[in-house]
Symmetry: C2
Subunit: 150 residues, 2 copies
């Protein structure tokens, strides 16, 4: 832990405050007396997604953005909104205390958010994600949408 002022390797902790997911320490360089702040954070473990075919792959934020972009083509949903949704979901997953999530859980989370934002995109996303095979599936999800509104 090189002192940012003089490069000396030795420093001592003069204050230490734990918070929910960090420890903030105030350090003082042994040599030059400079004070600086450090943060102790938990190592990022990549979040793994269990897909429907039981293969496992790391959670890919970009991929999710991509899928959402496709569901919102020609719909009044900004890229910013999409980024926010993905950001929120990533945060939820990060707090879920588990390093593995099924793609199902992610899909449902997306649907939950999307319903509030744009109903057409919601139906589109559901049709891809839930593998709609007939028109009835559309009818069903739309009537569910209407029910929830009442």
């Amino acid at each position: 832990m090189k002192c940012p002022e003089c490069g000396c390797e030795e420093s001592k902790v003069i204050d230490s405050r734990p918070t929910e997911n960090k420890v903030r320490r105030r350090r003082e360089c042994i040599q030059c007396g400079a004070r600086f702040t450090t943060y102790e954070i938990i190592e990022e473990v990549p979040l793994m997604v269990i897909k429907k075919d039981h293969t496992i792959e790391p959670f890919d934020r970009e991929k999710l953005v991509d899928r959402l972009c496709r569901a919102t083509v020609k719909r009044p949903v900004s890229l910013e909104t999409i980024e926010n949704i993905v950001e929120e979901i990533a945060a939820e997953l990060k707090n879920s205390l588990t390093r593995e999530v099924t793609s199902d859980k992610i899909g449902e989370a997306v649907l939950r958010k999307l319903r509030e934002v744009d109903e057409v995109a919601y139906v589109r996303f559901a049709s891809v994600y839930r593998d709609f095979n007939d028109v009835d599936s559309f009818v069903k999800i739309i009537s569910e949408l209407k029910d929830k509104k009442v």
Copy 2:
């Protein structure tokens, strides 16, 4: 420092290894016994650049990439190479033990890297950065280039 497994707030350090600019700790949750790794890192203090007109502004990686892109238009220099150069310079600055650098120092560092990569881009960048006012300046820098090659 919430345990990533059970969310418990209490953990103890079972190992601790300092390196040049990090401290890696191995922690064990008091409650569930889960083990996880943490890193203590020095807080990022934004690097300030002192410009020629003596104004100070934070170092902007993107801006530097931008300037390099302009100097390499139609030259066989990939964006990746540019990103690497900027990355290297940012790293050098970060290790320079000072929180303020003159834009001059940055400019010279860019030139140093650029000379190895593409001579045309090198001359172009120099002409902008060193405010060439006449053709002689070009002649001069080119002859310097040739000298260094020998």
